[in-house]
């Protein structure tokens, strides 16, 4: 394109050049420099924008099918699109604020450490990655099974702290001496007093459930002051006598055994040893029942369904924040660096604490930068598209829908150009007021 401008400049032979060449010639030169940009902007942005606005008032079949504002009515009454609008509202309400806040926190904290550059590089890095590839990454992170999905593996650590999984997942009593179910626990029918022995035999245990530490079960000795017992896998390959501890039958370690009084209240609990035995010491006189607690059968953490229809939007938002927090941090850190040190020092000398300095001096001085980040993020979030397509599996894409995605779907998978144009115009109308704020700022700079 550089050639155009050279051609536009005719050689001026001989004539001694004084300061001012012909005015028209100067305009022609300017025109030549501007022409390529104006052609592209005109053909690829200006004309299409007008076309799309006009097209949005016509039906699916084209300009012979004037539809008035029907497309806009359809837009607000089609559930796929209203879901998209609602989701985008959530995005706008949550994401810019979170990203700005995170950026501010990171920027302020990195000022206090010597390895700030390394930290900033790491957090900023996802900015270089496409939102689409970032989505692929998070789709791998967000898998449901805690042994496969990183996020759920992480959640599991906390979950197990408060709700530890039981030692067994399934079992049935081996004899009718024991009753109950995995949801209530198994209770020995016969009440016991001090000196009693509880034989809690269970069977039908999935082989994978038998703990590795399990050893040959042992029938416990009676304790005159307490109640002893054993929980064991009452199953012997090739047959055996149910209700009797025999060789080759394994004790079940880690089982929670409860001692319940006549009202059903648990008064003591114990955990079985590797040979399955347990003991309650110093049992007061009275009748008790020994029971395998229901917590033994507590289901292990099965994973949060991040990619399911309920949590898909939060899952995508997490991925998006991972990408954009670095942007906010870098821009805010630059703003922070521009704050004169002596202003902060003066506040500190006046006796302001770190928090007060932050709250009363730093944040107000950063306000313009924070608003820039915030506004930029609103615009980006309104146009969010690729990351939704890559995080959300097909089954939950309807629930994850956003305006830009609805526009692409409508126009280029259903080929409804009328409605597609209306969605594009709707997006345009949302973006304009926000971006005008930014452009105003640009102009002030000019």
């Amino acid at each position: 394109m550089g050639g155009t401008s050279i051609a536009a400049e005719p050689p001026v032979p001989g004539a001694p050049q004084v300061a001012e060449p012909g005015r028209l010639r100067r305009y022609a030169v300017a025109g030549a420099f501007l022409a390529p940009a104006f052609v592209l902007l005109g053909v690829w942005i200006l004309y299409p924008a007008i076309y799309t606005i006009v097209r949005s008032f016509f039906g699916q079949s084209g300009f012979n099918d004037f539809a008035g504002i029907d497309n806009y009515k359809t837009l607000f009454s089609t559930s796929a699109i209203t879901t998209a609008i609602k989701n985008n509202a959530i995005w706008v309400a949550v994401v810019p604020a979170l990203i700005t806040a995170l950026g501010l926190i990171f920027a302020v904290l990195t000022e206090k450490v010597s390895w700030a550059v390394a930290f900033k590089t790491v957090v900023f890095m996802p900015m270089a990655i496409s939102l689409f590839a970032a989505g692929v990454i998070w789709r791998i992170m967000d898998r449901q099974e805690p042994q496969l999905g990183t996020v759920n593996a992480f959640v599991q650590v906390f979950h197990d702290m408060f709700h530890p999984p039981g030692a067994l997942s399934d079992a049935v009593p081996s004899t009718t001496n024991v009753s109950g179910s995995t949801t209530q626990g198994f209770v020995l029918r016969k009440p016991l007093g001090a000196g009693g022995v509880a034989l809690l035999g269970v069977t039908a245990i999935p082989p994978t459930d038998v703990p590795k530490s399990a050893v040959q079960a042992v029938a416990p000795k009676a304790d005159p002051h307490g109640i002893t017992g054993v929980v064991w896998r009452d199953f012997k390959p090739g047959g055996g006598t149910p209700g009797k501890v025999e060789s080759q039958e394994l004790g079940l370690p880690g089982v929670k055994v409860e001692l319940r009084d006549s009202s059903g209240k648990t008064v003591q609990s114990a955990t079985t040893a590797s040979n399955g035995t347990f003991a309650f010491k110093d049992v007061p006189s009275g009748q008790y029942r020994a029971a395998i607690g229901a917590s033994t059968f507590a289901k292990p953490f099965s994973g949060v369904s991040w990619l399911g229809s309920q949590l898909i939007t939060p899952a995508i938002i997490i991925a998006y924040i991972w990408v954009w927090a670095g942007f906010a941090m870098v821009v805010i850190a630059a703003g922070l660096a521009a704050i004169p040190r002596d202003v902060l020092e003066a506040a500190r000398t006046d006796g302001a604490g770190e928090w007060q300095v932050f709250r009363r001096v730093t944040v107000p001085l950063l306000a313009p930068v924070l608003s820039v980040v915030f506004i930029t993020m609103i615009i980006n979030v309104l146009k969010v598209f690729d990351i939704v397509l890559s995080v959300a599996p097909e089954s939950s894409q309807a629930d994850a829908n956003v305006i830009a995605l609805a526009m692409w779907r409508t126009a280029f998978t259903q080929f409804n150009f009328g409605l597609g144009s209306a969605i594009a115009v709707f997006l345009f109308v949302l973006v304009v007021p926000v971006l005008t704020l930014n452009v105003r700022r640009f102009r002030r700079e000019v």
Partner: protein, 296 residues
């Protein structure tokens, strides 16, 4: 030199009482722990993708990628070996490169020409036109998809790399013109005036003075355009047809995510390795451009 100054400053630090020093270091420990945790949180996902990309596909459905640290023998180059034999993927990488290079060079040339005109040439309505160009930043590219789709079908630019490049160029222009014009305005007037008095043509001034002096801004812009076009999905999805950049090639595999993970993971990693390399090589320009675009 700087080490000497630092040494000169040291005695002052030593005067700090031991107790105060301990207090200062301990006081910062939570900050260090927090930042390390955040850093790990930001690093782990990308690391996860890298590990998944070197796992045999059956491992993906059987165990978490972090198990590779306990069983390093699970790692295999098989996926990468196969993906470089996969014609669809290799040709999509070539397409991506074509789009990214074209979509970077073309808008920079055109925007530099326009930016120079807006900064240093005199013509009626100059400032007003400049505002109009910046104003086009407001138009989301969704506004152009349908008409350009029709136009490309008529002009046979559908499925054509050049069509994609032109679209990226047009939508890159408003920001590019804004950035370059503002940079060019800062070039000292004397330099240009003396060149003009020496009889240099505007074309010559542009090539010999403006472009070299504008290099920092052009570099920032180039990185942005390159990342933007390299990472694009939507534009290629709409106009690309069978001309598929890597993002679209991966997109077509997403339907059976687990089954195709041996293609998806390495392809995704390759697709982000190049922008990451660009990022690390030109980080300074990247950040400068970012600040020019948002803070200024």
């Amino acid at each position: 030199m700087s080490t000497i100054t630092a040494d000169a400053g040291r005695p002052v630090v030593l005067e700090e009482s031991v107790a105060a020093k301990i207090l200062r270091v301990v006081g910062k420990t939570p900050v260090h722990i927090f930042l390390v945790a955040i850093g790990l949180l930001w690093l782990v996902p990308t690391l996860g993708l890298l590990v998944v990309s070197i796992l045999a596909p059956q491992s993906f459905t059987e165990l978490g990628w972090w198990k590779i640290f306990a069983h390093p023998s699970l790692a295999t180059w098989q996926n990468y070996h196969e993906i470089f034999q996969n014609h669809q993927i290799t040709s999509s990488l070539v397409t991506t490169l074509e789009i990214a290079v074209g979509g970077t060079v073309l808008p920079i040339i055109i925007a530099a020409l326009a930016g120079y005109a807006f900064a240093w040439l005199d013509f009626p309505g100059r400032d007003w036109l400049f505002v109009v160009v910046i104003g086009l930043l407001v138009v989301p590219l969704q506004m152009a998809l349908i008409p350009i789709f029709k136009l490309y079908n008529t002009l046979h630019l559908y499925g054509n790399v050049f069509g994609l490049i032109l679209f990226h160029t047009a939508f890159g222009l408003p920001f590019a013109v804004f950035l370059l014009r503002n940079f060019f305005v800062g070039i000292p007037k004397d330099i240009l005036e003396s060149a003009r008095i020496d009889g240099a043509s505007e074309a010559r001034i542009f090539l010999r003075l403006i472009l070299p002096l504008g290099l920092p801004a052009i570099a920032s812009l180039a990185i942005f355009q390159f990342l933007w076009t390299w990472n694009d999905l939507l534009v290629a999805l709409v106009f690309g047809g069978n001309t598929r950049p890597i993002t679209v090639a991966i997109f077509t595999q997403l339907r059976s995510f687990s089954a195709n993970i041996d293609i998806i993971a390495p392809a995704a990693f390759i697709s982000l390795a190049i922008p990451l390399a660009v990022f690390f090589a030109f980080q300074r320009y990247f950040v400068q451009g970012l600040l020019a675009g948002s803070v200024k």
